[in-house]
């Protein structure tokens, strides 16, 4: 939240339609993402009631659990879900590229990776719990399941974990993705309703944003996007249908539950694909691809781990694992913020407002300026930038610029809207700067103290070296019989 976004919200109210808060798209959008809309039985943590899933807007697959309290039906649902999801995921493992890493072993990376879209963060939680409740199941023993069930469980766990990683696009939620690009005239709490959010962004013909949003709050017109269902629907439609199935588990009874769930899922299915269209219409930010590369790498490593027969993810991280994970998330968060600012002048504007960045026009340049004598003589071009922004940077501060990759400079002086900078990086190795590396008078430039070179890894010990005060080195996680036989009611 920033003053700019707050202002955009006020405008949204005045104009009756959502306002953009970015100029580019900051998430990756796959050519064929998989949309997954799960519904959960009210009152249960992870009992699936049904789902709509697929990669083709015209052909959703409807999965139904006619009696969600029945564990066999629940596992049958998971197996059916696996039939849809696993081939989609595994399809990306077929084509890989070899990446040569400086000072490291070359490694393989999948050319593309799967992308799953769900309506909202609650759906991500549900994906995680469904993964947790299935990944330890066994194909033999007291409650055997189909082999695809634990495998799907591991993948769902992976996707849910990965979605906590800022900037990752492997599992996206529609409400967050849309909310990152548009400001509406309602509060964040109300934005959590996908139909209302889309109402503001893309109201139907002849309607205003607020009008569409208000209509969207009526669960009869726009059923909730899950995983929670409308209590009215539960009591009046679903309840009787499930009871009918209990009394007589016939095809017709299943069809009746399916029909009921279809009415709840179809509107959201359409909203999901409408969200995809809206996001796709935005030009992609320059660094989105870099982040997707990281996602592809992560996906490839997990795929390898699964293929090599590694154990399912542990129930809980060990002490060092948890700390490393947190540190990793923090780094990713910081880096994601910086990258967005570099990719998007409207995001950068937030930093200009706080004085951590400024934009202006070059008024003077001394591209061949040097410092030092003899062997330590260095090329240090000077430029002067005239800006209207309130600059809160002090001499000596290192700054970067979104206009040139690898470019760095140091603030020399700030006087009356004139900033003098000394360029320190990105001019090439010659005695004169390589062409285009020093801004010329008249050019419009942006500089900021935000930079994306974070220490690669905080000083955490390897998991093997966990101090005994933190529980000692973790045991490799071996799921026990207890995990596999965990009661499921």
């Amino acid at each position: 939240m920033s003053a700019l976004t707050a202002l955009a919200q006020l405008r949204a109210i005045r104009d009756g339609i959502a306002q953009p808060i970015t100029t580019v798209r900051h998430c990756h959008l796959a050519p064929h993402p998989m949309v997954f809309i799960p519904l959960r039985l009210a009152g249960e943590a992870a009992a699936p009631m049904g789902a709509m899933v697929g990669t083709d807007p015209g052909h959703p697959r409807l999965l139904v659990v006619p009696q969600p309290r029945n564990r066999d039906l629940r596992f049958a649902f998971t197996a059916e879900l696996a039939e849809v999801v696993l081939p989609y995921i595994e399809g990306f493992g077929k084509t890989t590229e070899t990446i040569e890493k400086k000072g490291g072993e070359p490694y393989e990376r999948c050319l593309d990776a799967p992308q799953i879209l769900v309506p909202n963060p609650q759906a991500v939680t549900f994906v995680g719990l469904l993964g947790r409740s299935t990944r330890f199941r066994r194909v033999d023993g007291p409650y055997p399941v189909h082999p695809s069930v634990p495998l799907l469980g591991r993948w769902l766990t992976y996707f849910a974990d990965r979605s906590q990683h800022p900037g990752s696009s492997l599992l996206l939620t529609a409400t967050e993705a849309l909310g990152a690009h548009w400001a509406t005239g309602q509060s964040g709490l109300e934005d959590a309703n996908l139909a209302a959010l889309l109402g503001w962004i893309d109201p139907p013909e002849g309607m205003t944003g607020p009008g569409a949003a208000e209509e969207a709050e009526d669960p009869l017109l726009w059923p909730p996007a899950g995983p929670a269902t409308d209590p009215g629907f539960d009591n009046e439609v679903l309840g009787p249908a499930v009871r009918a199935y209990e009394e007589a588990p016939t095809e017709r009874a299943v069809e009746r539950v399916a029909q009921a769930l279809r009415t709840q899922l179809e509107p959201t299915w359409r909203l999901m694909w409408r969200s995809v269209e809206l996001l796709r219409a935005l030009p992609e930010g320059a660094r989105v691809k870099d982040r997707w590369d990281v996602d592809r790498g992560s996906f490839t490593r997990f795929l390898e781990r699964v293929t090599e027969g590694g154990p399912p993810q542990a129930r809980r991280d060990g002490a060092v694992g948890a700390a490393a994970r947190l540190a990793g998330l923090e780094r990713a968060r910081a880096s994601y913020d910086v990258q967005r600012a570099y990719d998007d002048p409207l995001v950068m504007a937030e930093y200009r407002l706080t004085g951590e960045a400024f934009a202006g026009t070059v008024t003077a340049a001394d591209p061949e300026h040097t410092e030092g004598e003899g062997r330590s003589r260095k090329l240090r071009p000077l430029i002067t930038v005239r800006t209207e922004d309130q600059v809160r940077l002090t001499p000596g501060a290192t700054v970067g610029s979104p206009d040139r990759r690898g470019h760095a400079a140091e603030i020399v002086e700030v006087v009356d809207g004139e900033v003098t900078l000394k360029i320190t990086k990105g001019m090439g190795r010659g005695r004169t700067p390589s062409p285009g590396s020093v801004p010329e008078p008249g050019e419009r430039v942006t500089y900021t103290s935000l930079t994306d070179d974070f220490q690669s890894s905080a000083a955490l010990p390897d998991p093997e070296l966990t101090p005994w005060t933190h529980g000692g080195p973790p045991q490799e996680y071996v799921p026990s019989d207890e995990d596999a036989q965990e009661e499921w009611s």
């Binding site: 208000e214 209509e215 017109l221 009787p240 009918a244 007589a248 588990p249 029909q259």
Partner: protein, 259 residues
Amino acid sequence: MSESLDALERRITGLRAEVRRAVKARENSLARSLRGDLRRAEKAWDEAISAEEPVPASHEPEPSLLPIREQVHQALALLGVPAAARLVVAVNDAFFSRALRGPQLTSLRRDEERSFRSDPYARPYYLCAALTDRLSPARGLLADSTWEPERRVLGPLSPRVDFLTSTMRVAEHLTRLPDPSPAALRLLSRMAQNIPGAVESFAPADPAIAIRAARAELEVHHAADTRQRAEVAARASSQLSDVERLFGAATMSTLRGAC
């Protein structure tokens, strides 16, 4: 029939559109009444589609030839102490017909009381209440009228004592069976889990160990419970009428007697 389904579907679509229009026009009360119509139409659709179904063959387990009261009696005899409907059903599931359902037991005590009132002691036994220390019927518990009075009254320790006793009885019964059902083993495990030392975590319960552990805890409560029960039973026999001794006294100003 399917024609009316089609008609209903058309009506539902039409109503949806009307609700939408009314909401848009901010005609709140119209929207509300239309929504009611919509719900009703959806309900009618639900009913119509269910009515089309042929009534399927029942998937229930073989109905028992015994009347319900006798099945309950059978379970109570096994347990030997007053028990809640849930436990009676679980015991029936584990050892007997598997045909008993919780809801069938709700009016049992009332029916038995009516029968006793109209023709006292006509039956060899009645399924009656357990009495609290206020001599009122304990909620939800069933007992056997042929048991001695001390067994049919409760002190504060009695729920625990009876739980331990019934666990022992279930375990003993299990040891007598050549091939106990999985449901029976599950029942014992579930009960034994709540008794210290009666079960090793996650392993199925061993009847002998369960009996030993239950008996050990029972030792702790036994004397006090027996004393308290004897006191309540004495009060019951001196203060209550025949029917009250079996079905409990109404607490002051309860309306129970009236209905």
